[in-house]
Amino acid sequence: MITKTVRDVTVALQGIQNGMTVMVGGFGLSGIPENAIAELVRLGVKNLTCISNNAGIDDFGLGLLLQKKQINTMIASYVGENALFEQQMISGELKVTLTPQGTLAEKCRAAQMGIPAFYTPAGYGTEVAEGKETREFDGKHYVLETAYKADFALVKAWKGDEAGNLIFRGTSRNFNPLMCGAAQITVAEVEELLPVGALNPNEIHIPGIFVNRIFKGIQFEKRIEQRTVQSK
């Protein structure tokens, strides 16, 4: 078995540099790679292009990188919960490319699976389709979208094994599996890192071949963005 374990987040992010394109898993604050984001802040790498569905909130998630002005370009589908983001976008410090969420997901999967381009109906007839090829299939209009390219993919899983196999939990799965193998180097942080053989091969969401480095995260705050409850 090919082992992917690295000692800690510092080893896991070796090679990350200014100007790189980094995919970051998670939806809102759920399933974000908290340990890797903290390390990016510590390293102070700049001019990053981040591909992530959201941009965190002011003081958590990718918001921590925005505070330090480490992100140059943000590719996301929704960035609405972040005042810092707003300031930097208005001031022109931050470039933003908004992408429909399903297109964003499929562009990651396309990179992972070696599909260079595909057609999707999302955005046809809107400014998202401007400058892109459109085409009719069976009377319906579609837009040609290409796979993302990235240097690093930073994902978070629930359980993993030393072979890099991953299992996600609940809706914290979201974009994480799709980014595995979609970049040159995929780094997975997990809550539980298990020996090879501990996971049922039938229950693995992402085979280890899509993961280059895996480590056990030392801190998972798992902050809740909208705590909604019902009374008994």
């Binding site: 939806f27 929704y78 609405g80 933003v96 429909p100 999302a122 046809y124 998202v128 809706t171 705590r227």
Partner: protein
Amino acid sequence: MALDKNQIAKRIAQELKSGYYVNLGIGIPTLVSNYVPEDLEVEFQSENGILGMGPFPFVGQEDPDLINAGKQTITALPGASFFDSATSFGMIRGQHIDLTVLGAMEVSEKGDIANWKIPGKLVKGMGGAMDLVASAKNIIVAMMQVNRSGESKLVSHCSLPLTGVACVKRIVTELAVFDIVKEGFLLVERAPGETIETIQNATAGTLIVPDQVPEMRFSL
């Protein structure tokens, strides 16, 4: 009398049929889940990766790994499943979702919808809305018919950047139910007590008024 948001949601709930998989947008659409008749087999999808979404959790049972597309803590019903975002939008794009309910800033008489961007204001992003409107078989817009400046949101042509083209099938507002037909907005039902004139005045696009326009009925 104009409906309130809950009544709009209640009226939309009448569109549900047994066997429907439903995606509800943020705002009024979310309220629809409160009015599902007990005997209907309906499942709610949230595009961040759950089918079989249940109500909010009880206090102390919130799980950060279990949220909806509005980032709210939720629960999973028996028979639920979790999946990645590509599979989730595959359900949407592949037309496996039977009904999509979402809000709008403008709807045109051709069924175009604008609900993601106001030029000059902060752009938050389209999230999953463009995928939903481009793909869904059946899209109902839930919204107030007039914006805060008193302008009708049912227009001839959208002035705001589009989210999708010729996709809306039905609109439910505080005043009425409309279907998009070839000629424009077909008035299907009036809110209880609302006059055709009131509805006409609140509609900027072409309104088609049939001879008979029944009032909405609420069983509850």
